[in-house]
Amino acid sequence: MPSEPTTLLQGTLDLLISKSLVAGEMLGPGVSRRIQQITSGTFVVKPGSLFPGLHRMGEGWISSFWGESENNRRAKYYRLTRAGQRQLEAETKRWGRISLAIGQALEAS
């Protein structure tokens, strides 16, 4: 794990949260771990950012329901909705364009 977790760009957190939920519904800590895993530890999403993000996308892109955890505790699961999936595809394309453009711009002499 890098000693200095990188600060997230505005808007990329929502993208990462959606991406982490593509595989299926997940508990809160699961989302954090998943993001850490898929970004090879570059981004560590603490609950202080995770919850506002989840709630920002709630009602529309992410739905939530109360279920039971592995230890039979009441816990909240998050799931990407159909609209959320479409949004993720759109955002992924957009991101690709942006990162390509920024990359070219930065390499240009």
Binding site: P47, G48, P52, W61, R73
Partner: protein, 874 residues
């Protein structure tokens, strides 16, 4: 996100707050538990696992608060909760709240009230179409302040030759008719107007018709009357058209009633016609007409001025030194009160600033007391931005409450003001929509200004220290911020008080400086006369009979009214060359022989007139000291010769005026106003007016032995016994006449004075509050000092000295600012310099004393602290 979903969550967030909150709480808690379990699985002890989970989560309340800020509709929710919290805060300290609201109400109320007056008098456009294109047309001689009217030939030249104006009209106001045949004879006020006057204003008759252009050439027997006259004197008679009024002995038929024209000539009863055919109208030198023109769109004021000046100079005998000057009509109508209102406006704006400083200061002190609360809230997850918003909300609530109370105050005071006002254009003063907007504007402005001080104070907040001690470390009096606020408040109050002091001194000077006559025991009334032949018999008889009345010590006639007005005349000399383009103008007055005795003026040299100075005697004149000094400096003017040419409407002068011998010098009489400097003036015996213009009416002056009013009935009876249909106007004591003449000055003094008093009171409260607070913060320190041997005297001095330093700085800055600023009000001052040392010194001392008194009470409390109690404190 689709709109309907947004609306749904907005509504849910708004209305199912409790359910949403419980859900959030469970969600975060379960997250914490999951993290703990995870850590346990990773091999930590349960205690360790819980600690690590808590560190990762970073504070349940903070996370919850961050989620809340993401919610749709969060702003509304938090504004509402801010408001609820704000109201609770204000209710918790009712004393502070009451003082702050009252202070703000006074500031906002005074400003709204003054704005209402200024708006309707100075700002509101005239009630005519294209009102900004109306201009009064004056001629001005180079190097002189006096404005000259136009003569009929000049007006006709302008009208025929100029291309700048859509309309141009001439008016002649301030003359009267006697209206007889309807009970006691009454005087009606007339304004003569040229044909274009009403078409120019876009005003059409309310009833009947206007004069036709061709009717302007004959002095016909038809009149157009004003709405006011129709309503008040003719009882709104619906069949008024065709009614016959007996005016100056001629039967005149009413042909029209005009609607109210509120801002122009509001006193007019009869809209008479301007007849250019009269002989005296044909004289180019008779410049007594007022002109108003409506500029064509796109023509500038300067272009029109240039054009009219060129036209004027083409006329025969016109001086090249005279040029034409256009004044926006609205400014023209309000020119006499403009400077008075401006000083009141400046004063009331200062009051608002002082109010803000005072309330900001109170809030700052309060916020310092609230620092523990703030620290708790910050540690519970409140963001800095959120806190500042909270404080601004609180202050806006305070300002709004102050604003509402202020509006009520303003409504009341404007109504009161309306009753005493003598201002032009003030018929419709009231708190209207624009005043409401103004009040709203300054309320929000005040709220924000006031909020600035305490909210910036939070940015440097040492949380840990605050949580630990629960009490602020006490330095000297207040922080640098509150010192600054107090110093500026005091200096603003000093500036305002100096201004009020100067106005008060001017007023006292006007009242106290010798006016050159004695206004007590003096009754005056105006008697108009439309037939000079009859007048030549009536007036001498009246004076003779009046002086024989029991209780009368002298009776006299005069064209002028001392302390109120005087006609003007031009002078011709025979002992020096006369420059026809630069004629000396002086105050002048036709009088009967006992005039000076009746008004109580003093003879300096020579003699007063007597009954022998009549039409058959050699022509004589009495001059005042000012005239003697300006035209015969160092010489004795008795026996010198001057010719006097009276200036005014309706004068029909044939040939050169005759020379008169100076027979007496009278001590200066303030002729045109108690608050105006003495000008050169002369007096001529009324029986020696060979043109008979003087007989158009006289003021009758009666010096009484008993109270002046006691003879009013007797004088009235005497006049009617000599002439049954003689109108008797404005019978009043001289003291009343002078009181009325000083009304505008009294009004501005009253307003600025009460604002200054308010400012002084607010500063005293500010100083008192600051010292009292500082003392309460330093009780511990004082106890320690006294335990270590300090005497009561030392503590008293310490506190007083601290307070006094602030006051001294404030007074110093205020006096300095006044030195720079008071010259802007010099036009309002009379017999007092703008930097009058007495006023400045008195105000400085006054503030020092008030400040000392305000410091003394808390200082005494500090000095009586029991060291043992103080050391145990907290």
């Amino acid at each position: 996100m689709p709109t309907f979903l947004k609306v749904r969550s907005f509504l849910r967030n708004l209305f199912s707050v409790r359910r949403v909150e419980v859900d959030l709480d469970e969600e975060v808690r379960s997250h914490l538990e999951l993290l703990t379990e995870e850590n346990i699985r990773a091999g930590m002890s349960p205690k360790e696992a819980q600690r690590a989970a808590r560190i990762e989560l970073g504070g349940i309340e903070q996370v919850k608060e961050q989620v809340r800020e993401e919610r749709i509709g969060n702003w509304l929710h938090s504004v509402m909760s801010d408001c609820r919290f704000g109201v609770r805060q204000l209710r918790r300290s009712p004393g502070f709240t009451a003082v702050a609201i009252l202070t703000l109400a006074l500031g906002i109320g005074a400003n709204t009230a003054v704005f209402s007056v200024v708006e309707s008098v100075l700002l509101r456009p005239l009630p005519f179409r294209d009102s900004e294109r109306f201009f009064a047309i004056w001629a001005v001689q180079r190097g002189q302040a006096d404005r000259i009217g136009a003569s009929m030939p000049e007006f006709e030249d302008y009208k025929d030759q100029s291309h700048s104006f859509e309309y141009m009209a001439s008016m002649l106001s301030g003359w009267t008719y006697a209206w007889t045949g309807q009970g006691e004879a009454r005087t009606v006020n007339c304004t003569a107007i040229s044909y274009d006057f009403f078409p120019m204003l876009g005003v059409t008759p309310y009833l009947g018709r206007l004069y036709k252009p061709k009717e302007y050439h004959a002095d016909g027997v038809q009149v157009v009357i004003s709405h006011r006259f129709w309503k008040e004197q003719l009882g709104s008679d619906p069949h008024v058209i065709g009614r016959v009024l007996n005016l100056d002995g001629t039967a005149q038929t009413v042909i029209g009633v005009m609607p109210p024209v509120p801002d122009l000539f509001p006193e007019t009863d009869i809209w008479a016609k301007m007849v250019p055919d009269f002989r005296w109208m044909r004289m180019r030198g008779n410049r007594f007409l007022n002109l108003v023109g409506l500029l064509k769109p796109g023509v500038t004021r300067e272009q029109a001025e240039q054009e009219l000046t060129t036209i004027l100079h083409r006329g025969p005998g016109e001086s090249p030194e005279v040029s034409v000057h256009l004044v926006p009509l609205k400014d023209e109508l309000t020119r006499n009160v403009r400077s008075q209102l401006q000083i009141v406006m400046a004063a009331v704006a200062l009051v608002l600033l002082i109010t803000c400083a005072n309330v900001a200061y109170l809030l700052l002190a309060k916020s310092r007391r609230r620092q523990s609360e703030i620290a708790v809230r910050v540690s519970l997850g409140a963001g800095k931005g959120r806190l500042i918003r909270q404080f601004i909300t609180e202050n806006l609530i305070l300002a709004t409450l102050g604003g509402i109370t202020g509006l009520i105050l303003a409504g009341g005071s404007v109504r009161l003001f309306d009753r005493v006002s003598t201002l032009p254009r003030s018929a419709s003063i009231g708190v209207d929509v624009s005043a409401l907007f103004f009040a709203l504007f300054i309320t929000v402005l005040t709220g924000l200004l006031v909020a600035l001080a305490p909210s910036t104070a939070f940015s440097k907040l040492d949380l840990i220290a605050r949580m630990k001690t629960g009490r602020q470390e006490a330095g000297s009096v207040g922080g640098s911020r509150s010192r600054l606020l107090l110093v500026s408040e005091i200096s603003l109050a000093v500036v305002l008080s100096v201004a009020a002091g100067l106005l008060l001194r001017s007023f006292r000077q006007a009242e106290l400086l010798d006016p050159g006559f004695r206004p007590d025991h003096l009754l005056a009334t105006y008697l108009r006369n439309d037939d000079w032949r009859a007048g030549r018999l009536f007036f001498p008889q009246l004076v003779e009979r009046a002086s024989e009345l029991p209780g009368v010590s002298a009776a006299a006639l005069g064209k002028c009214m001392p302390g109120v007005y005087a006609p003007s005349a031009t002078l011709v000399f025979n002992d020096r060359p006369n420059d026809p383009l630069n004629v000396p103008t002086v105050e002048a007055c036709w009088i009967s022989s006992d005039f000076f005795k009746a008004i109580g003026a003093r003879l300096v040299n020579g003699r007063f007139f007597n009954v022998h100075d009549d039409a058959n005697a050699p022509a004589v004149v009495i001059v005042n000291q000012a005239l003697a000094e300006s035209y015969w400096p160092g010489q004795n003017p008795i026996g010198m010769q001057i010719a006097v040419d009276y200036v005014g409407a309706g004068r029909n002068i044939t040939g050169a005026p005759r020379f008169r011998e100076v027979v007496g010098i009278v001590a200066n009489v303030k002729q045109k106003g108690l608050d105006l400097p003495v000008e050169p003036a002369l007096y001529t015996p009324y029986l020696q007016d060979e043109t008979n213009h003087a007989f158009a009416g006289f003021n009758l002056f009666i010096r009484t032995i008993g109270p002046a009013t006691s003879l009013a009935g007797t004088v009235r009876a005497l006049v009617h016994s000599l002439r049954s249909d003689q109108p008797i106007d404005m019978m009043q004591t001289m003291n009343d006449a002078l009181f009325r003449a000083l009304a505008p000055r009294r009004l501005s003094l009253l307003l600025v004075g009460s604002f200054a008093g308010l400012a002084l009171l607010l500063s005293a409260i500010g100083i008192f509050g600051m010292i009292a607070y500082a003392v309460s913060q330093r009780t511990h320190e004082f106890g320690l000092r006294m335990a270590l041997g300090a005497q009561r005297q030392d503590v008293l001095q310490l506190v007083l000295g601290d307070g006094f330093k602030i006051v001294a700085t404030g007074v110093f800055v205020g006096i300095g600012a006044s030195f720079a600023l008071t010259r802007f009000m010099s036009s309002l001052l009379y017999a007092v310099g703008p930097n009058d040392p007495l006023t400045f010194a008195v105000i400085a001392i006054l503030f020092a004393l008030v400040a000392l008194a305000a410091c003394y009470m808390p200082a005494r409390r500090a000095a009586h602290v029991d060291p043992m109690v103080a050391l145990r404190y907290e």
